[in-house]
Amino acid sequence: MNLDYLILALKNLRHRGIRSWLTLLGIFIGVTAVVALIGLGNGLQAAVSAQFGISSTEIITVQAGGLNAYGPPGSGVVNSLTKDDARAIENIGSVNRVLPRYIQTGKLEFNDRVIFGFASNVPRGDDADFMYEVNDLEIDKGRMLGGSDSNKVVLGANFFVDKVGLEKEVVLGDNVLVQDKSFRVVGILKKKGSFVWDSIVLMDQVALEDLFDTGDDVDVIVAHIKDPDLMDRAAEDIAKLLRKRRDVDEGEEDFEVSTPEATMETVNSILGGVQAFIIIIASISILVGALGIVNTMTTSVLERKKEIGIMKAIGGTNWQIFMQFFFESGLLGLIGGLVGAVLGTLISVAGVAGINSFLGSDMTPVVDFMLIGMALFGSFMIGAIAGIVPAMSAAKQNPVEALRG
């Protein structure tokens, strides 16, 4: 029986004028905004996580600067971290081991072209594998650097895929000049979705220290913690130690100790704020849409008064007439939601593609069917609820008066 109302409502909607459809704009815009922005937000979140590039949850990163947490690591820092700082951190009880990391900017020459990019170190021995693991690096072609590879490099995926301004892809066995010194390419990394890592030049740690004359300074200290439960405690201990070593008070740190969790929390809180704002705007839009439906259904009841009279004369009960208008109203909302969900999904897919091309990431767009399902159900319900009062007024029509039109 309910299917009958649905079919009847659909038939009636087919003959609706443009005015009825225009009243759906509110619902349509609201749902588009919600679906697009939540989809984009998810994409953005994943992209940002990839930028940090750390897959392990037992890692604490320390870098100098404090206020510059999201810029290139170590850039513009006056008071750098040192190898001694790294050794001191390694002595903290909860810390398993420590990796000093360098991320240096320099020039690379190949095919008579010069580009500027990032170079990073591969430590020797066991630490090399640990570094690959912590940063979730995998080799695509060739091999990773080993112990005696001081004049060899492994390059990020973009050197092969995008040619990164060199106008010729770099292949295994090619020689590149880094800071005017020749290195042979022995490996290409798998694409990682992070601009820095996909454009990186990885070289032996000693070679890098010589080449960039880093002295005692390090850019980032990566500490591996023994137990995930000790993360907060370890972060606190590291901060305390560094405050003492660098002679700064609490709250005035010139360094930053961050856990992956804290980093993600910061990202999430920013994204969450943006999403909350969008959801408020979308809610207002949907409310306006609902009022539009109330309006269009009320007009429709007035316009179709005679039709209501006919239906009553030929045996339609109040409930049956109520149900017909109720379904019609719900369907109006659903159609608004459907168009909104399709457009919202397209926008979020396009947005993710935009993020990819901007950040050089490799995100696949996330189509959240649960979200779309909820948006559609929600739009139907908003429409149906908005239609309750008009549907009741339709059902209550006196048949004789209604037949007069």
């Binding site: 029986m1 038939k11 009636n12 004369a313 030929i314 045996g315 009960t317 409930w319 037949l403």
Partner: protein, 273 residues
């Protein structure tokens, strides 16, 4: 042709309908006595403003009387809920309106199916019956057209098919030829006559005395909201049975007030046409 007259189907007992209009009251209908037996062809005749539309609404149980009682199949309709009344109306009465009153957004076939939907008939059954009925009114080739795409005469035939959807006991036709030219009006009346011959009770409201007397067995003549007379077909002519009833009532000592309180008994011999 002789028709077997069966049970009383609709009865209005001393029914009045008043409409408040500002400070005054418009008496659309006063003290109407009316009854219809199964299988009869009854006409309610009267000029504009005589109260015949009001009478039709009451007979069709679309409206409630201000005073008096209406019995539909022996049930007092004032005791039924609005929804029960709608259900009974849908099942027992088929309406045909002067302005056809088809639903423009539905095809011809869907219009015929609609009363059956309200009765909870299955889709397959509805579709089958609608096709059958449209064949009956010779419109099966127009089933998928919309009302706006067919002529007035065809629309009225669709309305006839629709009125038969739930196989009602009575067809209530309000000026069925009012919006049609003579030729198409004749076709529509031919269908009604045919239905009556097949045993359907027909109640027709009209302002045209010739039409009333051409087709009906009994004619209720209304004037200024009151029943002026009742005439019945006897052979090829109509006789005024109001006076006879009044006379009978007077002889039996029943007080009569302008003939409106006198129960009019049609008698069993009145089904002759």
């Amino acid at each position: 042709m002789a028709k077997e007259v069966k049970k009383e189907f609709i009865r209005l007992r001393n029914v009045s309908k008043h409409y408040p209009m500002g400070d005054s009251v418009v008496k659309a209908l006063s003290h109407l006595e009316f009854k219809v037996y199964e299988g009869e062809f009854v006409a309610i005749m009267g000029p504009s403003g005589s109260g015949k539309s009001t009478a039709m609404n009451l007979v069709g149980s679309l409206d409630m009387p201000t005073f008096g009682t209406i019995y539909l199949d022996d049930a007092d309709i004032s005791e039924l809920s609005e929804s029960d009344l709608a259900q009974i109306r849908g099942k027992k009465i088929g309406f045909i309106f002067q302005s056809f009153n088809l639903i423009p957004n539905l095809t011809v076939k869907e219009n015929v199916m609609l009363p059956m939907m309200f009765q909870g008939t299955s889709v397959e059954e509805r579709a089958g019956r609608a096709e059958e009925l449209l064949k009956l009114v010779e419109l099966h080739d127009r089933m998928d057209h919309y009302p706006g795409e067919i002529s007035g005469g065809q629309m009225q035939r669709v309305a006839i098919a629709r009125s038969l959807a739930n196989d009602p006991e009575v067809i209530l036709a309000d000026e069925p030829t009012g919006n049609l030219d003579t030729k198409t009006g004749d076709i529509v009346m031919h269908f009604l006559e045919k239905l009556n011959k097949q045993g359907k009770t027909i109640i027709m409201v009209t302002h045209d005395p010739d039409l009333a007397e051409e087709y009906a067995d009994v004619v209720y003549w209304l004037l200024d909201g009151k029943l002026e007379k009742v005439t019945k077909r006897v052979g090829s002519r109509f006789i005024d049975v109001t006076k006879k009833k009044k006379k009978e009532a007077a002889l039996n000592g029943v007080p009569s007030k302008k003939g409106t309180k006198v129960p009019i008994k049609s008698g069993k011999s009145n089904g002759v046409k």
